[in-house]
Structure formats: structure tokens, C-alpha cells
């Protein structure tokens, strides 16, 4: 299976993951400062900043787009509980 590197810049930590992994599956295990609320894409708590590899994440769903908008997301913000990794990315808490 294709592998990808996810770098959490706030703790200078990189994890090699299979493509398709959601950021939520790894960020807590390594102690990144990305924090979670509902864990199902509804509350916007887990907004993260995608610093590198914006196009290496799955496209946001209509629901995620709506929640990002309601939470006044910036240009390179995604929800860590929704975004799936397709290639190398670097993220940090928004």
C-alpha cells in the first residue's frame, strides 16, 4: 500500500502512514496540539493548518466545507478528523 509522511510541525514529529489514514488516527498518539471535539466533522474543534502538501489530502466533503466556513477557516485549514492523507503533508494546529 502506498505510504505517505505526515509531519506535525508543532512537535517536530513525522509519522509514516498508509495512504487513506485520517490525521485524527495519529495526531493524538504522537502528542500533537491538534485537539478534538465531536470527532465526526460537526464541531470544527480539530481545525488544522496544512503547511505543506495541500493537494495531498482528500477533497473536503460538502459537510466539511460547510463546517470550515461556519468556523471562519483560513485558506489552508482542514478538519483533522475528516482529511485523509494521500501523500506527504505537514500540518500544525490552526
Amino acid at each position: 500500500m502506498a505510504k505517505a509522511k505526515v509531519t506535525f510541525q508543532d512537535i517536530d514529529t513525522t509519522v509514516n502512514v498508509p495512504a487513506g489514514t485520517r490525521v485524527i488516527e495519529i495526531s493524538e498518539k504522537v502528542g500533537s496540539g491538534i485537539i478534538y471535539g465531536c470527532r465526526e466533522g460537526d464541531c470544527g474543534t480539530c481545525m488544522m493548518q496544512v503547511v505543506e502538501g495541500w493537494n495531498n489530502l482528500t477533497e473536503p466533503s460538502v459537510l466539511e466545507e460547510k463546517i470550515l466556513k461556519e468556523n471562519m477557516a483560513g485558506r489552508h485549514n482542514r478538519l483533522a478528523c475528516q482529511a485523509q492523507v494521500l501523500g506527504d503533508i505537514a500540518v500544525k494546529p490552526a
Partner: protein
């Protein structure tokens, strides 16, 4: 209810400023609000009506069971056909309960809610299928009522994501929603005539607004420059006598309390523990020793057996990192630890560093259970918890020092070298 000098005759509106009427409802018998809040004086659901040359605006409604009282007061000062605008500063059911019926009686009116309120409106009014049309309001948006201007202030998370304030520019009246409110029912209505509600005001802040202190400060930055002749909250007395005092009180309550105590470059790291045979206590002391060795971190060590939850919660609010030491007894962390960890909902813990450690006899679940709780409370848990079987050796205490040092380093951002893992190794 305090009933002397009653201004709130049934079926009558009360003028609180020129052309501005209180049309709310009294709930004197309420003793518990929203499960979590006590009130010795009931509460009020405040709604207001603003009359302009070109029509009328209604600001907030009341809890569903009180809509008869609300409509009777409204009808005493306006006809439904005059209502052009309905504003909901906050969608919680105690303010939106009469909205469906009000929209039915005034179908021509435009509904204004904050830009964060749209999904809540739909969820709250699910039984009213078909829904309502609404306008999304943001800071600076205005509505002209003919010689009267309503201006919106976006004040999210006070105390729901949707909350906003509405300001009547010509009269200097701030319709503040739950901000500056309290659960206190007094038919004398105004702050200079009602009984002593200072306790209720502070209590309401402590339970409703305190978890959102940073948002309180942002809202005060918007409210601060306004000319304020009257603050009209959604609960409790209408603040007409020196309303600025209540703004200042919020400023005091939302300010950090130990700013001056901690140095500017210093981070506060609190270590709480509970120990039955002294093993977790010895671990705690070693964790503290290790953490102390990191420059810029000030350590405080507390035995939970010797303290009460509430003052500890106050300390935790101002701290930057927290570690909890608990033995494992019958497969769980001990009750004083859970008592403290279940009493932190009024505090903003987001992003603080958390850690757990403890001695155990055979299974040792406490540490991972506490870590999960810390994550649930939105703390960051950067270092895997430390467990030691029964009595720690000197080598194991050294491991505890190293653990404390690592947590403190994570707190000050000294992560050391970059780390690389495979997902399969993360457990």
C-alpha cells in the same frame, strides 16, 4: 419572587428606554436552570421591542411555556403587522421558544441570527419542518427601523457558538443576550430597584461565561468603545444605573489572576497525586524533580488528599501543564482524581499540556484512563504516561525524573531532535 413595587403588571410592557419596551416573562419558581445552575430567585426571560418610524423590531423571545405572557406584553405596545424585524441574539430554547409562534403571527418579519447560528436554528426547530428564512448577521451589519438603527456585534461562544449582541445606536442600548445576565427574578426589573443580585451575577458568569474567558475578552473589546446608557440582558435585571460597572466586572472576572505571580517567561506546571502506600507519591516527587530541571518551568506539587476540588480547579485554569498521579485500584484511577477531572468543565483547558503517571499492582489501567480523559478535555498529551509496578527502585525513580523532564520540555518547546515513527509502532 421579589414582588414589592411591581413594575411587571401582567399583560403590560415596561418602557426601559425611549421607544424600547421589555416584553419578557417572569419565572419565579425555577430553582434549577439547565441542570447545572441553581437559582434562589427564579429567573426572567427578557425580550425587548424597539419601535422605529418604519416599524418594530423584537429582540429575543422567551421559553416556550411562557409565550402567553410574552405575547400579551407584546400586544400591549405593538400590532403583529408592525413587526419588520426579529432578532435572536442566542438560540437556546429559553430565548427561541416562542419564535415559531411569533413567526407565524408576524410572517412578514425578517429573522436575523448570527452567522454561526444557522445549523443550530435548523436543529432546534426540526419539528417546524419547512423552516424559516433568515438573514445572517455579522459585526457591523445594521438594520434601519426609521430613525432607529440596530447594529450587530458578533460575540461567539458567550456561551454558545451562535451568540451575538445587538446595539441600538441612537439610545446607547446594548441588547447583550446572555452576556451580563443572571438568574434573578425581580418584578422591580431594574438594577437600581431590584434586590441584591451581585451573587447571582458573579455565579452566572462563573458557570456560563468562565469556560470562554478569551471570548469574553474579545467581546469586551467590541463592547468597550460603545456609549452605554442601558444594558438589556436576556436574563435578570435590566442594567440602567451605571451599566458600565457590569462591563468592568466582566473585565475583572475574565482577567488572569496570577499573571503577576508568574514571571513573563515562566510556565506553570502543576502535579497532582494520590497515593495509598507512598509509591505514587515518590513517583510524583521524582517527576517534579525532573521537571524542575528545565529552565522556565515552575513546579507545584499537590497531594489530592489534602485539598478540595474547587481551589484546585482555580489553579488549573491558570496553569500551563498538568500531571496527575494515580495508583490503579480495582482497575481504575482513584476517585479523588476523577472528582477533580470531572470538575473542570467551567475551565478552558484547550491546548494545555497533560500527563499521567502512577504505581500499580498487577494491571495498571489508571494511567491510560487518565490520559484518555485529559485528551477528552482537549489537553495535549505529548509524553506517554509512566507506570511502575508497586515499589519504585532508584532506577525507576530516575525514569520518573526523565518523564517529568520530557513533559516540561514539551511545555517550553524543547522537543529535542526531530522524531520519525511508523504508524504501526504507535500502538
Amino acid at each position: 419572587m421579589n414582588s414589592r413595587d411591581d413594575l411587571t403588571t401582567p399583560g403590560k410592557a415596561v418602557e426601559v428606554a425611549p421607544g424600547v419596551h421589555w416584553i419578557g416573562a417572569m419565572d419565579p419558581d425555577l430553582r434549577t436552570f439547565d441542570i447545572i445552575l441553581k437559582t434562589a430567585n427564579g429567573t426572567t426571560y427578557n425580550s425587548y421591542l424597539v419601535r422605529g418610524d418604519d416599524g418594530v423590531a423584537v429582540i429575543d423571545t422567551v421559553k416556550a411555556g411562557f409565550q402567553g405572557e410574552f405575547f400579551a406584553r407584546l400586544e400591549s405596545v405593538a400590532d403583529y403587522s408592525e413587526i419588520r424585524t426579529i432578532v435572536l441574539n442566542h438560540l437556546e430554547p429559553d430565548h427561541s421558544g416562542a419564535l415559531p409562534e411569533l413567526m407565524r403571527r408576524a410572517p412578514q418579519a425578517s429573522l436575523y441570527i448570527s452567522k454561526r447560528a444557522t445549523s443550530m436554528l435548523k436543529a432546534l426547530l426540526k419539528p417546524n419542518q419547512g423552516g424559516f428564512e433568515y438573514q445572517r448577521a455579522d459585526t457591523g451589519d445594521r438594520i434601519e427601523l426609521g430613525g432607529r438603527t440596530l447594529r450587530f456585534l458578533h460575540t461567539p461562544f458567550l456561551h454558545w457558538p451562535d451568540t451575538q449582541c445587538t446595539y441600538l445606536e441612537e439610545e446607547g442600548v446594548l441588547f447583550s443576550g446572555d452576556i451580563f445576565g443572571c438568574h434573578y427574578c425581580d418584578s422591580r426589573l431594574f438594577n437600581d430597584r431590584a434586590g441584591d443580585f451581585r451573587f447571582s451575577f458573579d455565579y452566572y458568569y462563573a458557570h456560563i461565561m468562565r469556560p470562554f474567558k478569551s471570548h469574553v475578552r474579545e467581546a469586551l473589546a467590541l463592547i468597550g468603545p460603545l456609549k452605554l446608557n442601558l444594558v438589556a440582558p436576556a436574563h435578570g435585571p435590566v442594567l440602567r444605573d451605571r451599566p458600565r460597572r457590569y462591563v468592568n466586572r466582566y473585565r475583572e472576572l475574565s482577567a488572569p489572576s496570577i499573571d503577576a505571580e508568574m514571571g513573563e517567561d515562566e510556565r506553570s506546571f502543576l502535579i497532582f497525586y494520590m497515593s495509598s502506600y507512598g509509591n505514587t507519591a515518590r513517583m510524583a516527587e521524582s517527576v517534579a524533580d525532573g521537571a524542575e530541571s528545565v529552565a522556565g518551568v515552575r513546579i507545584s506539587l499537590y497531594d489530592l488528599e489534602g485539598g478540595e476540588v474547587e481551589p484546585f480547579a482555580d489553579l488549573i485554569e491558570e496553569a500551563d501543564a498538568l500531571a496527575f498521579g494515580s495508583p490503579t485500584i480495582n482497575g481504575d484511577a482513584v476517585k479523588p482524581v476523577w472528582d477533580l477531572l470531572s470538575s473542570l468543565t467551567v475551565i478552558d483547558l484547550r491546548g494545555k499540556v497533560g500527563a499521567a503517571f502512577g504505581s500499580y499492582g498487577w494491571s495498571g489501567e489508571a494511567v491510560s484512563m487518565v490520559e484518555d480523559r485529559l485528551r477528552g478535555l482537549k489537553l495535549r498529551v505529548p509524553v506517554q504516561g509512566k507506570r511502575i509496578k508497586l515499589v519504585p527502585t532508584e532506577d525507576e525513580l530516575e525514569e520518573c525524573r526523565s518523564f517529568g523532564r520530557q513533559v516540561a520540555q514539551a511545555l517550553v518547546g524543547e522537543g529535542g531532535a526531530s522524531r520519525v515513527f511508523d504508524m504501526a509502532d504507535l500502538g
